[in-house]
């Protein structure tokens, strides 16, 4: 069969359209080159010729389509094996003709918090939505996060809500699966959330995945006190580390300890020098833990590759108050703090560390209208945390959350009021079904 028409790449002309029009409705006419649909990828069989699973039927069961042509040729119809009656019925149920792998693609894009509801559609979906390879696929779709997790443990029942940034909605999350002693939210990384608390006299740390409602208590540290902690997940090898630095309650200094999930044990390392009156502000990026010391105001860095502390002699901005360290993407480190407490020109500013020049460079300032709205009274406290190049400010007195996108330089409010209580703790969270607690 001769093909008429010019060859052209998609996007430059309509000649492909013309040639398709010549052949598609000609029944079994095939053109010179059959473009094959090769999206074969691991477990997903995407060829329309050979879809496996319950929807595959042999060509002998193909039925003739009586409705208006939909461009699906005989092979495709045979694959689905559906009898087509009237126009209306077909229109309503076209989704039933969706191939299995495309159904997976669609379900993978349903937000994680809504997946649970879909399990009760039917048993097949229930099985699918608990299948580990589907959940892994779901977790690899990038559009589900980040979210802001807001945790509050007033009495016995933990109240927890998660704000999904892509969906701009709050969801309630059930944290009753955690033991009652877990009251301090340490942080979240790669889909895992870390809590700590005291059961009796003993201090414990646990990690959990709120989506799968699984949790695990970590072994005790060598110097097992309530210490400043940070958890980091390495998604490339599905492992995580917890780093413990100084004692929170006193200014006693302990050797830095690191928990590695691959070995399930803590290793003891160098004690942090200059350990008087340390603040609790830490940030981790690029295999380095940055620690802000208060007196004197300075920056310490712990290098995980060589296991030792270094002092970074970056001069901090004058009259900085409430400085927070926030890690950005790759090697970026931000300092967020208030300037000028008793002045009318008080504001919150953001600096970035220039690693080469060892210098804090001012990159942004919170616009006065947001500042006045976030902190009604100038001496009110605020909390600050970050993920990638997003920084979130929360003010519990006002019950508000403010987001700043460092790259796009956009400020935006988080709607809703899940930050109400004074002992609310919050952090960024990326919901992932496949984050493993082991």
């Amino acid at each position: 069969m001769n093909c008429v028409g010019q060859s052209s790449e998609l996007g430059s002309s309509l000649s492909i359209v013309e040639s398709v029009e010549n052949v598609v409705f000609g029944g079994d006419v095939r053109c010179c080159i059959q473009a094959s649909p090769p999206r074969g990828n691991g477990s997903r069989n995407t060829s329309p010729m050979g879809r496996v699973g319950s929807r595959n039927t042999s060509p002998s069961r193909q039925k003739v389509v009586k409705t208006k042509p939909r461009g699906l040729d005989e092979e495709t119809h045979a694959t689905f094996g559906k009898v087509v009656h009237a126009d209306v019925q077909m229109e309503d149920n076209i989704w039933a003709m969706l191939p299995e792998d495309l159904l997976h693609e669609i379900l993978a894009r349903v937000p994680p918090f809504l997946i649970f509801r879909l399990r009760s559609v039917c048993k097949r979906w229930n099985l699918l939505l608990q299948d580990s390879s589907f959940l892994k696929f779901h977790s690899s779709v990038p559009s589900h996060g980040p979210c802001v997790l807001s945790f509050c443990k007033n009495s016995v029942i933990p109240q927890c809500s998660v704000y999904s940034l892509p969906l701009k909605t709050w969801y309630r999350m059930c944290f009753t699966f955690l033991p009652h002693w877990a009251i301090w939210l340490i942080g979240s990384s790669g889909g895992l959330v870390c809590f700590s608390g005291c059961e009796g006299p003993t201090f414990y740390i646990l990690v959990c995945n709120p989506l799968t409602q699984t949790w695990r208590k970590l072994p005790c540290m060598h110097f097992n006190q309530q210490r400043q902690l940070i958890m980091v997940v390495d998604r490339s090898d599905q492992s995580f580390k917890v780093i413990a630095t100084n004692d929170i309650c006193s200014d006693k200094s302990f050797p830095t300890e690191i928990y590695d999930s691959k070995e399930d044990r803590w290793s003891v390392h160098q004690r942090m020098p200059a350990s008087n009156l340390c603040s609790s502000k830490m940030a981790y990026c690029d295999s380095r833990l940055y620690f802000e010391t208060l007196s004197p105001l300075g920056l310490m860095m712990y290098r995980l590759d060589i296991n030792c502390w270094e002092h970074i002699p970056a001069k901090f901005p004058r009259s900085l108050l409430d400085g927070y360290l926030v890690a950005g993407t790759q090697k970026r480190l931000f300092l967020v703090g208030r300037i000028g407490l008793y002045s009318t020109l008080q504001s919150i500013k953001i600096w970035e560390l220039d690693h080469a020049k060892i210098l804090w460079v001012e990159i942004s300032r919170m616009p006065p209208k947001y500042f006045r709205s976030l902190l009604r009274l100038s001496a009110e406290r605020f909390e600050c945390f970050g993920l990638d190049n997003l920084i979130c400010f929360t003010s519990y007195n006002q019950g508000k959350g403010l987001l700043f996108d460092v790259d796009k330089k956009i400020w935006s409010w988080i709607g809703g009021s899940a930050f109400q209580s004074y002992n609310n703790q919050a952090c960024f969270y990326e919901p992932r079904f496949d984050a493993s607690i082991y």
Partner: protein, 116 residues
């Protein structure tokens, strides 16, 4: 943009290609797909504008959406597949399990075997 077309072009020497058969794609849908590819290949629009354009593009009757998802899959255009699947996921989000079962024509739950 379409891996299917790219592979077809790459496997056969150029002077032998007159046209490429995309036999599973209806011409009206192919027109839409081409419109999408042209828009995304041109450097004219900013990211934000392009996102808005995408939202408009995907705001079509569900029969068209269905055709688009099959075509994007067949033609192996990842970003279009992402857009359309996301749109369909959006549609599912607002429905109860009963409505979803009806939509996907899942008639008889007891047909499926018990797990374990």
């Amino acid at each position: 943009m379409s891996k299917t077309v790219k592979d077809a072009i790459e496997t056969i020497p150029t002077d032998e290609i007159n046209s490429i058969s995309l036999s599973l794609v209806r011409s009206e849908i192919l027109t839409k797909v081409i419109e999408y590819c042209k828009k995304h290949n041109s450097a004219q629009m900013s990211d934000v504008d392009l996102m808005d354009w995408d939202v408009e593009f995907a705001n079509v009757h569900y029969t068209t959406l269905f055709d688009l998802v099959l075509s994007a899959n067949y033609m192996n255009i990842n970003c279009l597949l992402d857009l359309v699947c996301g749109k369909i996921a959006d549609m599912i989000k607002g429905k109860t399990p009963g409505e979803i079962a009806k939509l996907f024509d899942i008639k008889d739950v007891s047909t499926y075997e018990e797990d374990n």
